[in-house]
């Protein structure tokens, strides 16, 4: 084992892992993050905590992770390269690890253009591939990015994102290979609605044996309404929502749409479980965390394995 990460242990056990996500609040209201996290306890192995998601200011991922850790749960510290240079990133990694946070997801982050501070300078000192490399070298070589030795190097289990649907499609497997070469241990993907295209991507992943080198977790996000489905299809960059999904959501009365959305998610998990190389699921119910237990249960992913923290 490279780390003490619960997620790493679940992967090692051979069971499908389950993660979910909590978005920290837009204010100094710790009770909100605690309330969200509690809904997930016992239903997931680890909880991603987003870092200024959609480029909007929120409570820091690090601080919110500490609250989740205090609940006896396993947080995944998300960090974007948009807001911090390599000094600030490494400082927070040391701080987080000192608080027992041992799993991270490395992202470049949504561009400030999309958020509530479009006037902010975007840092992008390093990119997500270099970010993964930096954490790996901190862990495996005990070195800061600048080359100096670290006292008690942080042993982070390293996650990265992949979007099988972005363009150019022919580069999508190659980009994954770059992240793996940099030292990625697990991948959480963009929300998967186009299962055919995801399976095609996974074929490309398997053709190169990459599924043996990294743990891939497809992202699953239930839709609440047909409006949300249309929004994701038309407005969210890099999202692939097939027309059948829109039709299916539109084909049921409004009050039954949330149930239909959950059904679609459960069916997706059932189908993708059979895909060789899928090692778990990342269930992101955006501002709908209370539905995660139901999805996980109906998809047959319970009980979660017991791992000593």
């Amino acid at each position: 084992m490279k780390t003490e990460s619960v997620l790493e242990k679940v992967f090692a056990s051979g069971e499908l892992a389950v993660t979910s996500e909590c978005g920290p609040p837009r204010g100094a209201v710790p009770e909100k993050i605690i309330e969200k996290a509690k809904m997930l306890k016992g239903y997931v192995d680890a909880v991603n905590v987003t870092d200024n998601q959609t480029a909007m200011v929120r409570m820091s991922s690090f601080a919110a992770c500490v609250f989740i850790k205090q609940l006896g749960m396993s947080p995944i510290l998300q960090m974007v390269t948009r807001d911090r240079n390599r000094l600030a990133m490494q400082a927070d990694i040391l701080g987080a690890y000192s608080h027992g946070i041992d799993t991270m997801l490395c992202l470049s982050g949504d561009h400030p253009h999309f958020g509530d501070h479009p006037m902010a300078a975007n840092v992008h000192d390093i990119d997500s591939v270099q970010f993964v490399q930096m954490i790996k070298d901190m862990r495996d070589k005990g070195k800061f990015q600048g080359g100096d030795d670290i006292l008690n190097p942080p042993k982070m289990f390293i996650g990265a994102a992949a979007n099988p649907f972005a363009d150019p499609f022919e580069l999508r497997v190659a980009r994954l290979a770059k992240k793996i070469n940099a030292g990625t241990d697990f991948i959480q993907t963009q929300c998967i609605y186009n299962l055919d295209k995801f399976e095609k991507w996974m074929e490309g992943v398997r053709d190169r044996g990459l599924h043996e080198k990294v743990n891939i977790m497809p992202g699953i996000t239930p839709m609440k309404t047909v409006g949300m489905a249309k929004y994701m299809k038309n407005r969210v960059p890099g999202m692939d929502v097939p027309d059948e999904i829109i039709k299916r959501m539109a084909g049921v009365p409004k009050e039954k749409q949330p149930e239909e959305g959950i059904k679609i998610s459960v069916e997706a998990i059932e189908r993708l479980k059979a895909v060789e190389g899928v090692k778990g699921f990342h269930v992101m119910a955006i501002e709908w965390e209370q539905k995660v237990p139901e999805i996980v249960e109906r998809a047959g992913l319970l009980p979660r394995p017991t791992i000593d923290l």
Binding site: V129, M134, P237, G238
Partner: protein, 222 residues
């Protein structure tokens, strides 16, 4: 070239309000090419300023000059003959020209008439696009001649990100995805394999990260 765009009239009028006699100085280099601050633009702005002042019942005397290169002390020296006759200078050159005037004429107020924007190229008549951020350690040899630092919105050295759609950037469909361009070019060159060589974190000291930069060519220093 260095590109620039003229500031809004209101802003220019506002900063000239205290003065009656000014020198309006254009530059024959980049700002002429990008039609922001050459001889022609000096003439247009001069008339516009005088008319605006007249409307307010005031007069503004504008002396016009366009230097060969405003970022070069040799040419800025030509202003000596005019400078004492005016209360202030408005420069239509890039920020380098404005600062050269400020450096040479220590007691004369100087105002920029243009916003200096970027190092770019002319894409088609009337359209200029950013191409270089002067990082001081060129990577174009690795990236098929397309700069990810200047042309990727997140300046990813190992792109593209998940927001690339139909060759366009998620930030704005008018922005081409630099990594789509890089990939297309690597393919055209038969260098697809190069894509998977991870580019290491950049040393920004050669850029602005190291503080203001200077080039000293010993063979040319007198």
């Amino acid at each position: 070239m260095i590109t620039a765009e003229r500031k809004p009239m209101e802003e220019l009028i506002e900063c000239l309000r205290p003065y009656n006699r000014i020198l309006l100085v254009g530059c024959n280099e980049c700002v002429t090419v990008c039609s922001a601050g050459g001889r022609k633009e000096v003439g247009i702005l001069s008339s516009a300023l005088q008319m605006a002042f007249m409307k307010e019942g005031k007069t503004l005397e504008v002396k016009e000059m366009t230097l060969e290169r405003q970022c070069d002390p040799e040419y800025v020296e030509e202003l000596v003959i005019q400078i004492d006759q005016v209360e202030a200078v408005m420069s239509m050159a890039c920020g380098c020209g404005v600062q050269e005037i400020a450096r040479r004429f220590k007691t004369k107020p100087v105002f920029p008439a243009v916003n200096t924007e970027f190092m770019g190229a002319s894409e088609r008549p009337g359209v200029w696009v950013e191409r270089c951020q002067g990082c001081g350690d060129c990577v174009l040899g690795l990236t098929g001649g397309i700069c990810p630092i200047a042309r990727c919105s997140k300046r990813l050295l190992n792109g593209p990100c998940g927001g690339s759609t139909n060759g366009k950037c998620e930030v704005d469909p008018d922005i081409e995805c630099a990594w789509q361009l890089i990939w297309d070019r690597l393919k055209a060159l038969g260098l697809e394999d190069r894509y998977e060589e991870n580019i290491a974190a950049k040393d920004w000291r050669t850029g602005r990260g190291g503080g203001p930069r200077k080039i000293i060519r010993e063979d040319l220093v007198k």
